[in-house]
């Protein structure tokens, strides 16, 4: 989940929880407020009444009850026979003209003209609480509006404040093939954290890039520089080998030297090829039917199949045309894959090369019935100079699959490898869109 979504969700949820709690508490709160307000009002009325009685005398008011026609409130004064001193505010029910109504009643007894009177001032509970619901509604609506507003504001602000982060992710991380980073475009932001992140990512990538570059340059220079001495050695050995007066025993040793030199030559040439591919020194201008390319590989490699009596079968539609590729490189890719399929195969084994078209994606699988690759080794098979599978008959130096990988990446092709030990391996080359045309 994206940071922005998370923030917005959290904001909305937390506000919702707060509002819910508040709305639930609201009736109790309003009741409390109302009660305080009513009690105050009752006390003020009491004081006022006492003052009136004090001025006008008790006579006019003794044994009197006053209430409004709707019986929402009343005031009564009567002689009090009890001895206790009363000054309370309570909810009580009263029967007035046949109606039992619940009132909030202030009871207060006082002495006037040597007599004890009881005064009751009451407001009906209904009258008090009738404002509760509308208040609650208004409060709820206002709150809801405010919350929607703040959520929107939050959303707007987080979008604004997080935009540089999104930009950093979009322009610096997604869709960039490491380490090909290109030029540095500063992401505009007033947030120092993002500024720091942006520059840090840039610096890290720059470091990675320059390290990669150095490695490439080194491999390229080293292999170039090695070519000349190898060339001299090879020429010397060849010339010596041609001399008639050299004993056969010495010639055999010269041959051994030649073999070792060939090994050095192969490694150097392979490294040079990989560095040339990585430096994009090859053109992608060839078109060739895939079936024809595989046939060319077969022509080169059939002698090796024969040697192990391996059956070779291809099922590739004749109209699959590879376009904008480098034929030399693709030839080497398939040669190495099929060569591996032979090398790690068993006697009388099988190799299938199958073209597949599924969901608008073209792919070709090279399946063998060989010794397979253990699951623990699978992630490392494309690493240079890794030799996991001990081939049965031949030596290799562990650069076959790195070449395959470099060539595939150069053509933006993906490789999927599935393998089971002692059963066989399958290397699936997935072509990018547009690399395969149907030749009609």
């Amino acid at each position: 989940m994206k940071l922005k979504t998370k923030l917005t969700l959290f904001n909305a949820l937390s506000k919702l929880v707060i509002v819910t709690i508040f709305v639930m508490l609201l009736p109790a709160l309003i009741k409390n407020i109302n009660q305080n307000y009513t009690d105050n009002k009752l006390r003020k009325q009491k004081d006022k009444l006492l003052r009136i009685i004090n001025i006008q005398g008790i006579k006019n008011y003794s044994d009197a009850s006053y209430y409004t026609p709707l019986k929402e409130d009343y005031v009564s004064i009567g002689v009090d026979s009890s001895t206790e001193v009363l000054d309370t505010i309570k909810n009580e029910k009263r029967l007035i003209q046949g109606d039992t109504i619940e009132y909030r009643i202030l009871s207060h007894n006082f002495n006037a003209e040597s007599k004890k009177y009881l005064m009751e001032i009451a407001i009906s509970v209904d009258a008090i609480t009738e404002t509760t619901r509308p208040l609650q509604n208004i409060a709820f609506q206002v709150l809801l509006g405010m919350i929607l507003l703040t959520i929107m504001a939050d959303q707007f602000y987080s979008t604004y404040v997080l935009r540089p982060l999104g930009l950093i992710i979009k322009t610096k991380l997604i869709g960039h093939k490491f380490p090909n980073f290109g030029s540095y475009d500063k992401v505009k932001t007033s947030t120092s954290d993002f500024e720091y992140l942006d520059i840090s990512i840039y610096k890290m990538i720059e470091t990675i890039e320059s390290t990669f570059q150095k490695e490439r340059e080194f491999i390229s220079n080293a292999s170039h520089e090695l070519m000349t001495p190898i060339s001299i050695l090879q020429s010397k050995i060849e010339n010596m080998f041609e001399q008639e007066d050299i004993a056969d025993e010495l010639k055999t040793r010269l041959l051994e030297m030649q073999k070792i030199l060939n090994r050095l030559k192969s490694i150097t040439k392979t490294l040079l090829l990989i560095s040339q591919i990585e430096n994009e020194q090859f053109l992608k201008e060839d078109s060739i039917p895939l079936a024809e390319l595989i046939q060319e590989v077969y022509d080169e490699i059939s002698i090796r199949l024969q040697d192990k009596n391996i059956s070779f079968e291809t099922t590739i539609p004749a109209d699959w045309q590879l376009v904008k590729v480098n034929k030399f490189l693709l030839f080497n890719l398939f040669f190495n894959l099929i060569n591996n399929a032979i090398k790690y195969n068993k006697e009388d084994g099988e190799i299938n090369v199958v073209g597949l078209y599924q969901n608008d994606i073209f792919s070709v699988s090279i399946n063998d019935t060989g010794i397979g690759i253990g699951a623990e080794q699978l992630p490392f098979i494309f690493n240079r100079f890794k030799k996991f599978r001990q081939s049965l008959t031949q030596d290799s130096f562990g650069l076959g699959l790195p070449i395959v990988k470099s060539i595939a990446e150069f053509h933006e092709m993906k490789i999927e490898v599935t393998s089971e030990k002692d059963t066989g391996s399958s290397f699936k080359i997935i072509f990018p869109a547009g690399l395969v045309n149907l030749d009609s």
Binding site: H224, S231, Q258, F335, I403
Partner: protein
């Protein structure tokens, strides 16, 4: 035939000279571009071998000069800079071939021969080997008018290479470099030459025993042609 070798690596230039002299070429060596430029301006050569990586001269400039003063000469570029770019540039400027270092001397010889054949349209190159008539131009083998058509391209390449270097033992490495050299490959000891030779012998045996194709024990193969 006259060959001008322009190569600043003295050791390599000397080996080239030894090898080519052995094949009856007359060689001259230049260790730098300046002398090479002078020689090109004065003498006529049949072959000019140019190393691109000269310290004092751009090899491609030498190529231009060679084309100007020695228009008939076959120019072959030798370089450790195996970039595709150079290759295209070199061929565009009129180089007849291009050999990336390290190369086999036999390969150089074979290329020189191939270009000569192509360029001067030599007469039908027919070799008689114990009744087998091998036509290097048409790439066919006939045995008393019957064509041996089971021979594959690779197999013919091997026979032609051995004929070109007749009476010399070629090692398996040299042969496999010739027929698989351009393939970048993970094996350093892949030797399927024996299998190829076995097939060739089997196919020719249908007509007659190819005694001229000899196995030199422990060393390699050779084709014997008595001149």
């Amino acid at each position: 035939m006259n060959v001008l070798i322009i190569e600043d690596e003295k050791a390599l230039a000397e080996e080239l000279e030894i090898f080519l002299t052995n094949y009856n070429y007359i060689c001259e060596i230049c260790f730098n571009g300046t002398t090479a430029s002078e020689r090109i301006g004065v003498n006529l050569y049949d072959f000019i071998l140019i190393d691109l990586g000269l310290p004092d001269y751009d090899g491609l400039d030498l190529l231009k000069e060679a084309k100007k003063h020695n228009p008939e000469a076959v120019c072959i570029i030798l370089t450790a800079r195996a970039e595709v770019y150079d290759r295209i540039k070199g061929l565009d400027l009129g180089a007849d071939d291009y050999l990336p270092k390290p190369f086999s001397l036999l390969e150089l010889h074979s290329r020189m021969q191939a270009i000569t054949r192509r360029k001067f349209g030599l007469k039908q190159n027919l070799i008689d080997l114990g009744g087998f008539l091998i036509n290097l131009t048409d790439r066919t083998i006939t045995y008393y008018n019957a064509e041996v058509n089971s021979i594959t391209k690779k197999e013919f390449d091997l026979i032609a290479y051995l004929i070109l270097h007749k009476n010399r033992t070629l090692s398996r490495s040299q042969l496999s470099e010739h027929i698989w050299g351009s393939i970048i490959n993970d094996d350093y000891d892949s030797n399927y030459i024996d299998a190829h030779i076995k097939n060739i012998r089997k196919k020719l045996n249908v007509f007659a025993s190819p005694d001229w194709l000899e196995t030199v024990r422990g060393l390699g193969y050779k084709i014997k042609i008595s001149s």
